[in-house]
């Protein structure tokens, strides 16, 4: 079983309990304009290019067999239309100017990396988190990977946007210990403006997750101009409060198994957009202040939801 992975991050301490390894899977069904991992949006591998590292050795020109990188009047051209991201040029780009985002990996290959930190998961109550992109867009691979992790006795978590077929989400449940799910806005039109998709399927998925017994952390990426007002956060928190009720009705302990996390917007992804020749539409936005994050956290708490921010 193979999947397309664009990063494996060990000592991941922000994506679930304990010390974890986060596996980032390529492909996403949303187009959030502030996306922190733009290299993970498209399902196929893609070349990132960092010109400041380039030493003009032109090894990439020699390596490219697809007419994507060539010299024209002495000038080096990189034609993304022609590029199939085979990675040949990356292999010979010793300066690290070209980076291949996305690599086809087998479950065994991913596990070889993940299991190196087994001792740390055991000591800390950590484990593996599948993130992306949207991991559930590679349902067969994600399932196989999570299943293997469970057979190794690891704690498993997925970070999903919810904008996928419910049967694919549902398939993950037996092999997933923790669900982390984004809710970006309660208003369908604004959601569509911000992410390229409306939120009906997402909110429905949230409700369905709430009806299970799996612990859920709902996450709000707090993005100026999108959802950083008290009203917008209160609307989401109220919905989460409602979902706690859903879980309680299903016989679960909503208050202790459903919580909310607010993540402040940051601008660290700017370089990545440049490397992908993508427009960074969040360029002008400023990260929310600590005080504002505190205010929003209090707002969420006032909706009787366990909430925290980073």
């Amino acid at each position: 079983m193979e999947g397309v992975v664009f990063n494996i991050q060990r000592f991941s301490i922000h994506d679930g309990p304990g010390i974890r390894t986060t596996v980032f899977l390529k492909g996403c069904s949303l187009r959030c304009f502030w996306c922190h991992n733009p290299e993970g949006i498209r399902p196929k591998p893609v070349i990132q290019f960092y010109p400041e590292r380039c030493i003009d050795c032109n090894e990439c020109v020699r390596a490219c067999q697809h007419g994507a990188t060539y010299l024209l009047n002495g000038e080096r051209i990189f034609d993304r239309e022609q590029c199939i991201a085979c990675g040949e040029c990356v292999e010979t780009c010793y300066a690290g100017a070209r980076v291949l985002a996305g690599k086809t990996m087998t479950v065994d290959e991913v596990m070889a990396e993940v299991l190196q930190d087994r001792a740390f998961y055991e000591a800390s109550g950590g484990g593996i988190t599948l993130s992306g992109g949207e991991p559930v867009l590679q349902p067969a691979f994600s399932y196989a990977l999570l299943e293997r992790c469970k057979s190794e006795g690891l704690h498993t978590a997925i970070e999903t946007c919810g904008n996928v077929r419910w049967e694919d989400e549902e398939r993950m449940l037996p092999v997933t210990d923790l669900i982390m799910m984004d809710i970006k806005h309660m208003d369908p039109a604004k959601h569509r403006w911000a992410t390229g998709a409306t939120n009906e399927r997402i909110l429905a998925a949230a409700r369905r997750f709430a009806a299970t017994d799996k612990p859920i952390i709902f996450r709000i990426p707090v993005i100026p101009t999108v959802n950083d007002t008290v009203e917008e956060v209160a609307a989401i928190a109220s919905y989460v409060h409602e979902l706690i009720g859903v879980r309680n009705c299903a016989g679960g302990d909503g208050e202790h198994t459903i919580s909310l996390e607010l993540l402040p917007f940051h601008k660290l992804a700017g370089d990545k957009y440049r490397s992908l020749d993508m427009e960074y539409r969040a360029r002008e936005l400023q990260p929310p202040s600590k005080e504002h994050m505190r205010l929003l956290t209090e707002t969420a708490l006032s909706c009787a939801v366990e909430a925290r921010s980073r």
């Binding site: 494996i8 301490i13 010390i19 010793y94 300066a95 990396e113």
Partner: protein, 753 residues
């Protein structure tokens, strides 16, 4: 002078704040007068302006330094070279220095004394030129060896002896055993040597008594003119205590701290000793007694400890097993941590982490790291070092008593001579010798296997040279600069009339450290991948690039190609395998046999701050390193070992390269966890530390830092005068380091950029 009125006494915390402020101003004065100080802060105070002169000299760790001396003091030579050698001359000169040493009393502190000069800086030459070891020079140079010949201290005394006897008792002990030896030593030549030795010891004690007596007198005089009643009372107590301590052993907790302060400062001043050992065990009887009597509470105990720590950056172990294996962690262990926490200055306190050790000690240590970001404490994998030491043939009861007492090392207090941290093999130089032989030797076809075989041959030669040098040191060092000060608090030297470096103590386990592990592991892996597997380059090409230091566009391309392989620390890579293989080979060669004279050697992996000089002495290496750049740090992977810089990956890698005989291969780690103490940060770091030790790790030097702040401080250190970093086994004010050393720390932080 402190703006204190009669009605408002300074609290202990206010006094600690005052001590810190004074320390900071002393440090800034040192930065101004001496310049960069690329070493442990030492707690040294400059001599008064009218009594100081600057010299270029060598530190106790063998680094060239600028040092301030007490002007006007002259040593007496007993040799045509101008040097002074042997116990009698050394003892006499040290006594003279002690007798002229200015008195230092900070009326805010509960403890008197401050040391102002390194006796070592008066030694010119350091070595007696009549003793010739030039027969070792060629190999020593070829392999970049730190031979340990002429190295001082780096083992641990037992303060209990001093606490029991006091200076008066020590003097009596010297006289007693001098008489015993006079009556029993049959060899007349030996007897002359021993009598010289006793005379040297006697000088030391008399010098100490003089310094302490003068201090008591000055405190008395200051008392008479001090208008603040609180400080007057303090000075009176200082005068009384020190008048007593001239001859008597300490009785109270404060007296024990004062006695320890004298001993540790003077041992530091004598030859750079920074060993202390298990402070919480040593002082516990006094703490227990005084608290039971109701004459000491915890706040006061913390204060005395802080007064000690502000003068001494000694290496201290907290917690850990006693002989029977029971954890010794006590209330006093926590109070010691608390004292360091309130001071927030460079300190070298190691907390034990082990299955039987109170887990709260580790947790409190990590909390303090988060709160202070002063790189204190450090963490000791006590179970691993104890088990490892037993593999040298020692029973658990003895192995457990080995106490942390130096940068990366432990020693059995009072019973073991070690030369810890003094003996280094630069694997990079060994590799260089092997590569040169392969590429220039007649009839040799280059290959990785051949290179590794030649590396093994040269490493064996390097280890043999080290062993011969150690024997030489142990034969002659006592004739040059004997360990008089530490001898006083060891079991055997005074009794037998023999220096600790010359058969005085019970056990001899000599440290042999390997350096540049990552540099060489990555080099082997790069050659294997790029030349043998991928045929991207020929052996001749790479050899040419190395000799030309990667010169030209071609060279830079080749360099980046060699550098861009998966490196040691990335996890499961060829380079990771090479690192294990190289460590195993080194361990096997060191443990293969003792020295010719039968001394046990113990392998470790540590380069201390020598990464810079060792790198300067090494040409370009196939891992993409330019000639002269620093070698890799200790057992650490090179910065940039992984894109995510995952500390778990580093922790796994370093745990797998441990030599495993009780000496350490520390993990040096810089963390900006991007998470606060309250957000679970403490838990994560606790788990990281514990798991590294569970996997086999032996010691952790950790900086929990705000990376941005350190980068800012690198631009203008004067803006952050109180920023403390753990450079390697030692911690220091960031602003005291040279730009080159600061860069070393900064490079480690910048892994990802």
């Amino acid at each position: 002078m402190f703006g204190v009125t009669e009605s408002r006494e300074l609290t202990f915390d206010q006094r600690i704040d005052a001590l810190r402020a004074t320390k900071l101003s002393i440090t800034q004065e040192k930065q101004r007068i001496i310049g960069a100080m690329n070493h442990d802060d030492w707690g040294l105070i400059l001599p008064p302006a009218d009594r100081r002169e600057l010299v270029q000299t060598m530190s106790a760790s063998g680094m060239p330094i600028t040092d301030a001396l007490i002007a006007g003091f002259q040593v007496k030579s007993n040799h045509p070279s101008g040097g002074f050698f042997g116990p009698k001359a050394v003892g006499m000169n040290y006594r003279a220095l002690l007798e002229q040493h200015p008195v230092y009393i900070d009326p805010v502190s509960s403890l008197a004394g401050g040391y102002m000069a390194n006796f070592m800086s008066y030694r010119k030459p350091h070595w007696n030129p009549d003793l010739d070891f030039s027969f070792l020079h060629e190999n020593q140079h070829q392999y970049g060896l730190g031979s340990g010949i002429g190295a001082a201290q780096h083992f641990c005394h037992d303060l209990t002896i001093g606490f029991q006897l006091g200076w008066g008792g020590l003097l009596e002990k010297i006289h007693h055993y001098r008489d015993v030896q006079k009556a029993t030593e049959k060899n007349p030549e030996m007897l002359v040597q021993k009598l010289d030795f006793y005379e040297g010891l006697e000088h030391i004690v008399l010098g100490m008594q003089n310094w302490i007596r003068r201090t008591a007198e000055q405190a008395r005089a200051m008392c008479r003119v001090e208008s603040n009643p609180q400080l007057r009372e303090n000075l009176e107590a200082i005068a009384d205590i020190n008048a007593r301590l001239v001859t008597e052993p300490p009785k109270t907790f404060r007296e024990a701290c004062q006695w320890m302060n004298w001993y540790q400062m003077a041992a530091r001043m004598y030859n750079g000793n920074g060993a202390l050992g298990r402070l919480d065990v040593l002082l516990y009887p006094y703490y227990e007694r005084d608290t039971a009597l109701g004459i000491l509470d915890d706040e006061e105990a913390i204060f005395h400890l802080a007064c000690f720590l502000v003068r001494n950056t000694d290496y201290i172990q907290l917690g850990g097993p006693d002989e029977a294996g029971h954890d010794t962690t006590s209330r006093l262990s926590f109070l010691t941590l608390e004292a360091a926490h309130r001071l927030k200055i460079p300190a070298n306190i190691g907390v034990c982490v082990g299955d039987e050790v109170d887990p709260q000690l580790l947790r409190r240590g990590v909390e303090i790291m988060f709160e202070d970001k002063c790189a204190t404490p450090k963490f000791l994998g006590i179970d691993r070092t104890t088990e490892g030491f037993m593999r040298n043939g020692y029973p658990a009861e003895i192995a457990r008593t080995r106490a942390y007492s130096g940068c990366h090392w432990s020693a059995i207090p009072g019973r073991e001579y070690t030369l810890n941290d003094c003996v280094k093999i630069n694997f990079g130089k060994v590799f260089d010798a092997a590569l040169n032989e392969m590429m220039t030797g007649a009839g040799i076809t280059p290959s990785i296997d051949t290179l590794y075989t030649l590396y093994g041959k040269h490493l064996r030669r390097a280890v043999d040279t080290i062993a011969r040098g150690l024997d030489y040191h142990l034969e002659h060092y006592h004739q040059v600069f004997p360990e008089l000060f530490l001898d006083l608090l060891c079991y055997g030297p005074v009794e037998k009339g023999l220096d600790a470096s010359h058969g005085g103590v019970e056990f001899y386990n000599l440290c042999v450290d390997g350096s540049a592990l990552a540099t060489v592991a990555d080099s082997f892996a790069a050659l294997e991948q790029r030349i043998e597997q991928q045929h991207r380059m020929s052996w001749q090409d790479i050899y040419r690039h190395l000799q030309q230091n990667w010169d030209g566009a071609d060279g830079e391309k080749a360099r980046l190609m060699m550098k861009s392989i998966p490196r040691y620390g990335s996890g499961g890579s060829k380079a990771d395998e090479w690192a294990v293989r190289l460590s195993d080979l080194f361990t096997r060669l060191v443990k293969e046999k003792p020295t010719l004279n039968g001394y046990n050697m113990i392998p470790g992996l540590f380069s201390w701050a020598n990464t810079i000089p060792m790198g300067k002495d090494l040409g370009a290496t196939p891992n993409g390193r330019h000639a002269g750049e620093p070698i890799s740090h200790g057992a650490n992977p090179d910065p940039g070992y992984r894109k995510d810089g995952a500390p778990t990956a580093m922790a796994v890698a370093i745990a797998t390269v441990q030599p495993g005989y009780g000496n350490t291969a520390p993990m040096q780690m810089e963390l900006d966890p991007g998470i606060t103490k309250d957000e679970g940060g403490v838990d994560h770091i606790v788990e990281l530390i514990k798991t590294h030790f569970d996997l086999g790790g032996t010691q952790i030097n950790l900086n929990i830092m705000d990376a941005e702040q350190v980068l800012e401080a690198h631009k203008d250190p004067s803006k952050y005068p109180d920023l403390v970093v753990r450079v390697t086994g030692f911690s220091a004010y960031f602003a005291s380091l040279s730009p080159e050393f600061r860069q070393l720390v900064v490079d480690r932080i910048l892994t990802e950029k």
